[in-house]
């Protein structure tokens, strides 16, 4: 249920999740607003420093990038072949747009920078810590509770689904393109909805039995350390330097 990267002892693991969320949002905003390749490149030293800090875990941290990049590569390729510009190279019936390639790579760089920052800053905290940090960053209570419970119980719902799938397979069910298959899946989904509702009802009753009155109290709290403050100051200085250089 927890992402493996959240278990570690690097500097990034020790930084307060509230700080990591804010720094991520700041840099993601800055990177998203860059208008050309050179500007986007200015943020790479910061990404590189964070990658170095991650140390041995760097490959594990970047693994999800492979998945995201398979989609991005298709976008770059489609831009190379479909972007109309005066600067074209022709290979028989194929026309490659150099401007398309430039924009494609720019998009690729921007997306990768934001994704790497997200992986390094957010995945190095447990999901529950991130929700807890969002609560402290004044995200509406109801929203954080919804996020928390969705994450807390999504695997329970998946387990229920797996159990039901095993039950139908044990009775010879093989999914096909037929009304019977659609009906079976409709029954499974209906049951899943009903079970989720019942589960939610029981959990709510359990919360009421322990004095719940609409606010989800939290026992453990974050505290800012010197390390967090240094991280904020250095990151913000870097960000401001890049922004000043841009303008």
């Amino acid at each position: 249920m927890e992402n493996r990267l959240s278990q570690g002892r690097t500097l990034l693991h020790k930084i307060d999740p509230r700080i990591k969320i804010l720094i991520f949002l700041l840099f993601a905003w800055g990177i998203a607003l860059t208008s050309d390749f050179k500007e986007a490149l200015l943020f790479t030293p910061f990404v590189a420093i964070l990658l170095m800090v991650t140390g041995k875990n760097v490959l594990k941290a970047l693994k999800p990038l492979l998945f995201a990049n398979t989609f991005l590569i298709f976008i770059v390729l489609s831009m190379v072949f479909t972007y109309k510009s005066t600067n074209m190279i022709h290979f028989g019936f194929l026309s490659l747009s150099m401007d398309g390639l430039k924009y494609g790579l720019f998009l690729f760089l921007k997306s990768n920078e934001i994704l790497i920052l997200m992986l390094l800053l957010l995945s190095t905290s447990s999901v529950f810590s991130i929700f807890h940090a969002l609560h402290h960053l004044k995200l509406p209570d109801k929203l954080t509770q919804m996020l928390f419970f969705t994450y807390r119980y999504i695997h329970t719902i998946k387990d229920e689904y797996d159990t039901m799938m095993k039950a139908v397979k044990c009775r010879g069910f093989k999914p096909k393109t037929s009304i019977f298959t659609y009906k079976t899946f409709a029954y499974i989904l209906g049951n899943l909805l009903l079970r989720s509702y019942r589960k939610a009802d029981r959990v709510y009753k359990a919360m009421l039995c322990r004095g719940f009155r609409g606010t989800f109290p939290v026992y453990t709290h974050f505290s800012l350390s010197i390390r967090d403050i240094i991280f904020v100051v250095l990151s913000t200085m870097f960000f401001l330097a890049v922004e000043l250089w841009r303008f």
Partner: protein, 215 residues
């Protein structure tokens, strides 16, 4: 002193009476079993006492005071420690520590008092090592013990346990028996587990056709 009293409690769902004129009381030092087959209305009785099922008639009294408003039931729920049949329904916080703190935080206790309660309960139940664990990663038996612990940190006046022995192996079953024998809190255990009943020499109430009969 009489903690809980149920008087002429009837519950009707659709056209069927689940409970019919149920009467019983629980006083200091008392420990009772409510037994009966599946579907006899045992869980409905507990859920009605806790205010989750609206009765057709009858009254519930907590320390001699009739419970009828939502505020009265809030008081009742924080006075009676209800341990659910399925511990998975009861454990919703990310860690054991947060789970144990949930009730006391809702009661508005200060951090020092909460810490003291958590430490005491963890020590008394011998589960200090589970403190920082994720609740969803606990074994079935550990979940059962943590669900009991999560209620004990509220320091309830009495305990109500619904089928507490379900899914426990031999070691955890012995642990439960030992806990039930040693707890100083008045306790109601709803069960149909003959082994558990045989282990404890408690007063037995039998649920039959929606009625509660002392045996």
């Amino acid at each position: 002193m009489e903690i809980l009293k149920v008087e002429n409690l009837s519950v009707k769902i659709g056209n069927r009476y689940i409970l019919r004129e149920v009467n019983f009381s629980l006083s200091d030092g008392e420990k009772i079993f409510i037994v009966g087959p599946n579907g006899a209305g045992k869980t409905t009785l507990i859920e009605t006492i806790m205010g989750f099922v609206k009765p057709e008639s009858g009254s519930i009294y907590l320390f001699g005071k009739k419970v009828h408003t939502e505020n009265d039931f809030y008081k009742l729920r924080t006075t009676i420690g209800y341990i659910f049949q399925n511990p998975d329904d009861q454990l919703f916080s990310p860690t054991v520590e947060e789970e144990l703190a949930f009730g006391p935080l809702n009661l508005g206790l200060n951090r020092k008092e909460i810490e003291k309660r958590i430490e005491t309960v963890l020590k008394n139940l011998g589960i200090e090592h589970l403190r920082k664990r994720y609740t969803h990663q606990l074994s079935g038996g550990e979940k059962r013990i943590v669900s009991i612990a999560s209620v004990l940190t509220m320091e309830p006046k009495c305990l109500v346990m619904d089928e507490p022995s379900t899914g426990l192996d031999g070691e955890k079953f012995s642990y439960l028996v030992s806990f039930l024998q040693n707890t100083d809190k008045p306790t109601i255990v709803v069960t149909h587990d003959r082994e558990l009943i045989a282990e404890l020499n408690w007063q037995i109430y039998r649920m039959e056709n929606g009625q509660l009969i002392k045996s």
